[in-house]
């Protein structure tokens, strides 16, 4: 009547092989951190998008502020500096891998300088808006959203610059070696993330939002 199975599932004959870890802990942790940062910025940007064109208080509107103060060109200029710094930090990490410490220090310093330029540029833009246009965080919805989104990005750039400078000082003191390339690469991932977020912020605030 019933079927008679010969044998159960064929047994494995040898114990499983040792597993090779797919990923280093530091890399995985940094990726997770970036993921959670993306959801943080995603929320801020979603709110910004939601409020575009919903401002009852009117002036100053995004187009007034972001055009009249000649901000677009300034912002494009600043963005250029921030985005190219990603190239320099990649070159720096590559040099560190090879153990070329002088080249590493050079590219690293260049990254820091370009980052500082971006931060200073943002500061000047803000000064122009506050002093000339009278736009503050309490003026209207646009002000609230603009300063929050751009402000949080700038804060992340500042934190990044602080960490980059720390590494630079350690390099000058001679503590950095080829074997730290893995840790330094993680820092460069964070820097790339800050750049990537800027592309999203720029698109939404300066292009769609205008």
């Amino acid at each position: 009547m019933s079927a008679t199975p010969t044998s159960p599932v064929t047994p494995l004959l040898s114990p499983p092989e040792a597993m090779s870890q797919a990923m280093d802990s530091g890399k995985c942790g940094m990726l997770c951190l970036i993921c959670s940062e993306i959801t943080f910025f995603g929320t801020l940007l979603a709110v910004y998008l939601f409020y575009i064109g919903k401002d009852p208080a009117g002036t100053p509107t995004p187009s007034e502020v972001l055009e009249v103060s000649a901000a677009p060109m300034k912002v494009v200029f600043n963005s250029f500096f921030l985005l190219t710094s990603s190239i320099w930090i990649t070159l720096a990490v590559r040099s560190l891998r090879k153990g070329a410490m002088r080249a590493f220090a050079f590219w690293w310093l260049l990254t820091i300088l370009f980052g500082i330029e971006f931060l200073v540029g943002t500061g000047m833009e803000w000064y122009g808006m506050i002093a000339d246009q009278g736009l503050t965080i309490r003026t209207n919805l646009f002000g609230s959203g603009f300063y929050t989104v751009v402000g949080f990005h700038a804060a992340h750039v500042a934190i990044g610059l602080f960490l980059l400078s720390l590494v630079f000082v350690l390099t000058l003191l001679g503590f950095m070696h080829k074997r730290h390339a893995e840790k330094i690469e993680l820092l460069s991932w964070y820097w790339h993330f800050v750049d990537g977020i800027w592309i999203a912020v720029f698109t939404i605030v300066y292009i769609i939002g205008r």
């Binding site: 019933s2 079927a3 010969t6 044998s7 599932v9 802990s25 720390l166 350690l170 993680l186």
Partner: protein
């Protein structure tokens, strides 16, 4: 930051991260920074200084390399010893005790046929009841149709006794599909009941279902509830259960393929592969 807990052990100890109060100090500072926002700004300044002190100490511990301590091994070692026996094996046909139970099931077709025949006998009883109660064979099918036809559910008993095309169609549709589904359920569930299967099929489930319908129908659709004669309802459920259960339990059981090899499951036949399927007897 890379994981520093997978350091190789030595003869008499294992390297672990050294204890450090830096995270504590740093977290305290960070909290003070936030506290300053709702108290006095100087609290934030103090908090920043504390957090910075904590962070610098922390960096000193991980940069350029992580600080470790050597933890000596404990004298007491734990070993897991083999404990053969002590386990009562459930022996299943085929000489193995590793199986997902049930290893034999009734064919799904038996469930569907059982459901259909059960539904048929149930319908006969319902028609008999309709003729006795209202003098019409259409009465009960219209009530069933009324569960989804709002217009029908408003009518009184004499109107329900008449022929309604839509009432007949929907009533039959509901009845047939429910019968097949419950028949399939019987087919799947009955092999899992250790004993008293026919009792389970003919008494337990019909009574459970009747109770559920009795309890919910008066809340869900009180108008319809007035038309239902619960004694006849229970009788028809029991007849369904008995017929369906009888047909399912009398059907020939077939083996699940869980113990078959991949080749056998795919039905390949080649020399060297013992043929096992259903065709060995």
């Amino acid at each position: 930051m890379a994981h520093d807990t997978q350091q190789p052990g030595t003869e008499n100890g294992i390297h672990l991260p050294a204890p450090t109060s830096s995270p504590f100090v740093c977290a305290f500072g960070v909290t003070l920074i936030f506290t300053g926002i709702v108290t006095i700004w100087s609290v934030s300044i103090i908090g920043f200084v504390i957090a910075l002190v904590g962070a610098i100490r922390w960096w000193k511990e991980v940069l350029p390399d992580n600080v470790h301590q050597l933890v000596p091994l404990e004298e007491e070692r734990v070993s897991i010893d083999p404990k053969p026996g002590g386990v009562a094996h459930l022996m299943v046909p085929g000489g193995t005790h590793r199986a997902r139970i049930p290893i034999e099931i009734h064919p799904y077709g038996a469930g569907a046929i059982g459901g259909l025949l059960g539904g048929l006998s149930m319908a006969i009883i319902a028609i008999v009841y309709g003729i006795i109660a209202e003098g019409s064979p259409w009465y009960t099918v219209n009530i069933l149709g009324a569960t989804i036809l709002p217009s029908l559910s408003q009518e009184d008993a004499s109107q329900l006794a008449q022929w309604h095309t839509w009432g007949f169609l929907f009533g039959t549709l509901i009845h047939v599909s429910m019968s097949i589904m419950i028949g399939l359920l019987y087919g799947v569930v009955l092999p899992m009941i250790p004993r008293g299967r026919i009792l389970f099929a003919a008494a337990f489930i019909p009574l459970l279902w009747s109770g559920l319908a009795w309890g919910s129908l008066r809340v869900v659709n009180p108008v319809l509830n007035d038309h239902v004669d619960w004694t006849w309802f229970i009788i028809s459920q029991i007849v369904f259960g008995a017929v369906c259960g009888f047909i399912v339990t009398r059907s020939e059981r077939i083996s699940t393929m869980q113990n078959w090899s991949m080749l056998e499951r795919t039905g390949m036949e080649s020399p060297g592969v013992p043929s096992i399927g259903g065709d060995d007897e």
